[in-house]
């Protein structure tokens, strides 16, 4: 990059800190010349111009209340509009006010759009959080599970133990018998009775 370009960039950043109409006079005359060349199709001048106005546009966006993550989007909006209407620039007039007007319009549009979004959207709370597992997103199923758990805890101790070991922990009859100290037959009977009772409790039988 030629040294004068680097200088221009520096002065553009410096201008970004101040009011565009006053302190930015020096880069503006450069900008104006670069824009005139761009209108004639000079690509190098155009790229140099766009790079040079970018820090100024970022500063404008920040001052205009655009949020951190959106600043680059806002800057790009302005650059795209500048590109689309570059034929409307009159090189006899200062470039700064022309660019500033475009930037203000585009940023105001952006803030309006954001305002509309905020008015329509609600922040997500814990109650809106969902999980990939299907059953967590189905409140009816969750309700049945709650009822089933309540019904199981209402069973007599022997039957409850049979359900817990055989169905919830999915042990084999032999393992369940070993763990509970009951015979396999006693467990089978308890399980059978438990199922019957649960059906009754849940209104299905």
């Amino acid at each position: 990059m030629p040294p004068q370009d680097a200088d221009r960039r520096t002065s553009a950043s410096a201008a970004a800190a101040g009011a565009p109409g006053s302190s930015a006079t020096a880069p503006q005359s450069d900008w104006s010349a670069l824009m005139a060349l761009s209108q004639e199709g000079d690509r190098a001048a155009y790229v140099s111009l766009l790079q040079s106005v970018t820090p100024y546009l970022r500063a404008l966006a920040r001052r205009g209340g655009v949020d951190g993550a959106e600043i680059e989007d806002a800057v790009q909006d302005v650059l795209l509009t500048l590109h689309a209407i570059r034929h409307t620039y009159d090189p006899r007039r200062p470039f700064g006010p022309w660019l500033l007007a475009i930037a203000r319009h585009r940023m105001a549009d952006r803030l309006r759009r954001r305002g509309r979004l905020l008015a329509r959207e609600t922040a997500l709370g814990e109650e809106h959080v969902t999980f990939a597992a299907d059953e967590t997103n189905n409140p009816e199923r969750a309700e049945s599970a709650r009822r089933l758990r309540a019904a199981i805890s209402a069973l007599p101790a022997g039957q409850r133990q049979a359900v817990e070991l055989l169905r919830l922990k999915e042990l084999s009859l032999k393992e369940a018998a070993a763990r509970s100290g009951q015979t396999e037959t006693a467990l089978k009977v308890a399980m059978h009775r438990a199922i019957k009772r649960l059906r009754r409790l849940l209104g299905e039988g």
Binding site: S38, Q39, E40, G41, D42, R43, A44, Y46, V47, L50, Q51, T54, E72, D73, V75, Q76, D77, L79, L80, T81, H83, A84, I85, R86, H87, T88, Y89, D90, P91, R93, P97, W98, L100, A101, I102, H105, R106, D109
Partner: protein, 215 residues
């Protein structure tokens, strides 16, 4: 969106030379000349109003015609300026004093009509022809103005469309005042406002489209 640097490289890569817009005053002058020529052609084709000699002696008539034409001209100048990004929004106020003049003549004529439409005057027949004149003036004027203003790709499409519509209304009414006896009737008012309103609505909707770039 990608990074800003990438965008700059893309825009630089697709840069083509563009033809600069001529100064707004020049473009406005061109359109005003065109509209005025159309008024003259319409007046030739359809003939001046029957009571022209009497009207020429009436200052109120002059005020109204001049008010309508100047409203049209001022609104045109305002439209070509306000559609550019770096021109003041205050341009929208430029036609206001002329519009007051126009409306004053308009109200005055309305009162005059109320009192003085002669018995048996062919008011209805003239009203129908008057509608024709206004459509014949408004449609081509609106079309050309719309095409010209579209090249500006206005950042303020609503203001531009509104003021452009006012320009057409001013010139269309100038044609009407030169050609028709029935002035300032409710019909004329409606016929002047209706195309303006439609243009305003369509302008508000369509005017944004060219600027959707990057949005």
């Amino acid at each position: 969106m990608g990074s800003t640097e990438e965008l700059i490289a893309t825009l630089g890569g697709e840069l083509r030379p563009v033809r600069r817009l001529p100064p707004p005053a020049l473009r406005a002058a061109g359109w005003i000349a065109l509209a005025t020529a159309l008024i003259a052609v319409l007046a030739l084709l359809r003939g001046l109003r029957a009571d022209m000699t009497a009207q020429l002696a009436d200052p109120a008539y002059w005020v109204q015609v001049a008010g309508a034409w100047m409203t049209g001209a001022a609104a045109t100048l305002a439209a070509f300026n306000v559609s550019l990004p770096d021109r003041s929004r205050l341009w929208l106020l430029l036609p206001a004093p002329f519009a007051l003049l126009w409306l004053w003549g308009f109200a005055y004529g309305c009162l005059g009509d109320w009192i003085a439409i002669p018995e048996g005057a062919p008011v209805m027949a003239d009203s129908a022809r008057c509608l024709e004149t206004i459509v014949m003036a408004s449609v081509p004027m609106s079309l050309v103005l719309w095409l010209m203003l579209r090249r500006n790709r206005p950042l303020r499409p609503e203001g531009t469309a509104w003021i452009g519509a006012l320009a057409v209304a001013g010139f269309a009414d100038t044609a009407h005042l030169l050609i028709h006896v029935v002035e300032a009737s409710l019909l004329v008012l409606l016929v002047n406002l209706l195309p303006a309103t439609v243009i305003l609505l369509v302008g508000g909707l369509v005017g944004r489209r060219p600027l959707a770039t990057g949005a």
